[in-house]
Amino acid sequence: MSPLVRRLYRWALVALPEPIRTKHGDAMAALFARDVARARERSRIAAALAIAAGLWDALRRGAYERLRPSAPHSASPGSTRRDPAHPSTPASREPFMSGLLYDVRFALRGLVRSPRFTLLAVVTLALGIGANVALFSVVHGVVLRPLPFDEPERVTHVALDYGAGRQVTVPAYRFEFWSERSRVFESMATWRHTSMVGDEETGERLAVLRVSHEFLSVVGREPVLGRDFTAADDVSGSSEVALIGHDLWRTRFGGDRGVLGRSIELEGTPRTIVGVLPAEFDFPQEPETGDVLVPLRLVADPFDEGENWPILARLAPDVERSTVRADLERVHAEFAAAHPELVDDDNRPLVMASYQELYVGSVVDVLWVLMAATGLVLVIACANVAALVLARGSSRAGEMAVRAALGAGRGRIARHIVAEGLLLGGAACLVGLALAGVGVDLLLGLYPGKLPRAATVGMNPGVVLYAVMAALLTGTGCGLIAAVPALRGRVAGALRESGRGGTGRGGLRRLVLAVEAAVSVVLLVGAGLLVATLVEIRRVDPGFEVEGLLAAELPMPSGGWESAGGVGRVEELVLEELRALPAVAAAAAASTYPLRRGWNIPVTIQSRPDQYEGAVEWRSVSSEYLETLGVSLVRGRTFTPADTEGTPPVALVNEAFVERYFPGESAIGQRIEIGRYDGRYFRPELDVGGTEIIGVISDVREVDLTVDPRRTVVVPAAQAPAALRAPPVLVVRSRGAGSGAAAAVRTVLADVAGAGPMPEVRTMTEVIGDSVAEERFNALLMAILAGVALLLTAFGIYGVVSYGVRQRRREIGIRVALGAGRGTVARLVMGQGMVPVLLGLAVGVVGALGLTRFLEGLLWGVEPTDPVTIVAVALQLAAVAALASWLPVREATRIDPNHSLRPE
């Protein structure tokens, strides 16, 4: 049993009363350890259940022991001092209840008697707790939960260290070198996720993981049937084999144990099934868990830098982290010595990296920010409920005072209030958990695309424990704030005031209000900055005409490319048909469309061989490309049908390219070498002796709206080297809005696709919308949270001010009777709400200035201390506060002195 579990159990035992804990604590802990150890022999799940059952038992028994009506525990052994002739009466019939149970019953009765207060308080807290629990369960599933591997603490990623960042993947020859030379790893593996057609008839695709042969030992899983891959399987030329996933085995092969030796066809290649993966196999590094595993057969060509591979490794048992670091450094040095030709100035060392660092990365920031935001909302909810409890406390001041006068100690009264808080917290916890269930679905639904490990998000003991802790904290928190006056012992004052309506607790209530205002400001500023980010991004000029532009992938004809005369022929025919459509103004094919992934490639300036760049955006396009996109030709000429295979290679470059390499001179006629980096072509066939720049085009934000236009070269599709050719995408410019172009394009493409999969026709507006999906998610969620905070604060202000009006009826009546005008009364009442709110506002702005830097990573085009946002937020809060206090003010100015001064 881990020390953590042991400690957890010791903590849980604190629930028990002290005497029994002292007497039996060790025995209980020992017995618990034995129970867990036995359960562990059966399975991990049994052990987890045993741990949960043991902890629950300790907590439940603790509650029972403390509530149980009984004589004090006697700790001495052999302690039955009772007269055996007179068996004791059953304790449950004892007339007097012990303290806490009494308090709870009393509080419960009180809550039931004022259902409106109870409902409001529970709903407020439940919203806060629900939001928190929902966020926590996402954070737990995505960030905190260990990976689904055997002994996950021994599994580590190995990545290139770029100081600030990590690069997940390394060239194949490095992977091979490392796995051969390092001594601290038991096994090391790399993989690639692809999807392959697994059934020719239905076209059903399977998620395939191509893995190096030690993959399963790294994740610590063994096939439930058959064998793992061997080194021999991982060599090209050996027979084609596959391991199939548990689900696929059950669904397609009916769980038949005779499946070994049968074959499964992937992309037309039959593979022999050699094993079945266990049901618990899971690999969160990839979006889909593999239905099928096949050997990767990596060829470590030292000159192939194009494809890169991630590394996952299992550490040998009991290796110190420092030893691993030293070993990685040693192998790094050995590599540099063995392959000086492959090492340049930028030779980065390999370091251990966690899954969270590499895969969860940016999501983590968002999650923690949202988590903090929901925490703040909970603070406000708490403050509101505390204010409610306080107000109720004062309206019951008389009752309390009488109780105190009758001999209830301050402690007793405070305890009663705390018990009330706990009951509210408990009820809110249940409702909050239900809300959280809905909230989690909502969050996952709203999150754009790719939340890592979303599948493992859900209710589990950790989440429930968190909810209970949140409820306990908020419950006692509210209770304690509300109990302050009772603790201060204002009993005599309350008795006196009960007759006239006092202001005794006003100070505390106003403090609560100031806190709410301050917290709201922080949230509102956060939300404001995220909304401003979204607005800024949407204002960016993408460099092409978004309206009326459609994009789709070229569909594969149902008979395959070859039977239709090749990709080029299909492209030509489809373009012809598209251009003939009346709704279409222009159409073109290209290697990709903006904001979609495309190739980037090294480029060297031919006349200056020392001027080269590793990653220039590369696009190959058909005729009419510029017209279709609405990109303008700034200088020179565009492609003509004469620029085709066999004629001298030509290219267009964008203005960013010219600015970097030909500032102040004409780029037209200059020659570049596409594919050449540091004197070497990364693929020999790319060496065409240089390409002439014939024109300059305007910049397009190809990668993302938030990324400045990248340097780009555009070549005619006919001259694109075979190595870079792939089925193109189509871009279509429609003639006028709402011309039905999308439907017409769909008809043409459906015709080509036949029975095969139909590509999605998307409008560029949608594409741009998707590209800011993450920012929209951040802004939306923060805005919701800030809105809830603002609403709760408004309720709080209204409550405090209207309460103040009720309490000061007489005073106001006297003032009016003495000649105070409406303005004076309004100022008096408004001040009650506005003064603390403005104070809180000031504090909140200072706080926000300090806190918004945590948002920096999520902002774009806005400073974390953006004055516009801050001023807007301040005005907004002040306006809401004024509105919330206006209603009670109206009530106050209508007070008729005749009524309020009449004796009670």
Binding site: I20, M28, L31, D57, P77, G78, S79, P84
Partner: protein
Amino acid sequence: MKKPWFFILLSLASRDRYGSDIQEDVRTLSDGDVRLWPATLYGSLEELVERGWIRELDGAEAPADGASRSRWYAIQPEGREALRSEVERSDAVNRVARRRLGRERA
């Protein structure tokens, strides 16, 4: 009678035992149905001691075998009496149940 009490008394009715021994015995007695988790076990033992139904053996009385550091418990006449009346009560219920079921079958 509460389930843990019943089974603890039942277990101690055969001989004096210590904590984990009781837990084990109860599990066997109930066919694995009743698991006394530590806090419930020791809490119930304290309750039963308080009621005078069982007592804790003094150090000198405890058998000096392997589990010497454990606390040993012995059932008291009141405990036996309580167990007996519980068994009789449930016997009565069982008789009624059997009769009614029998009538149903007929």
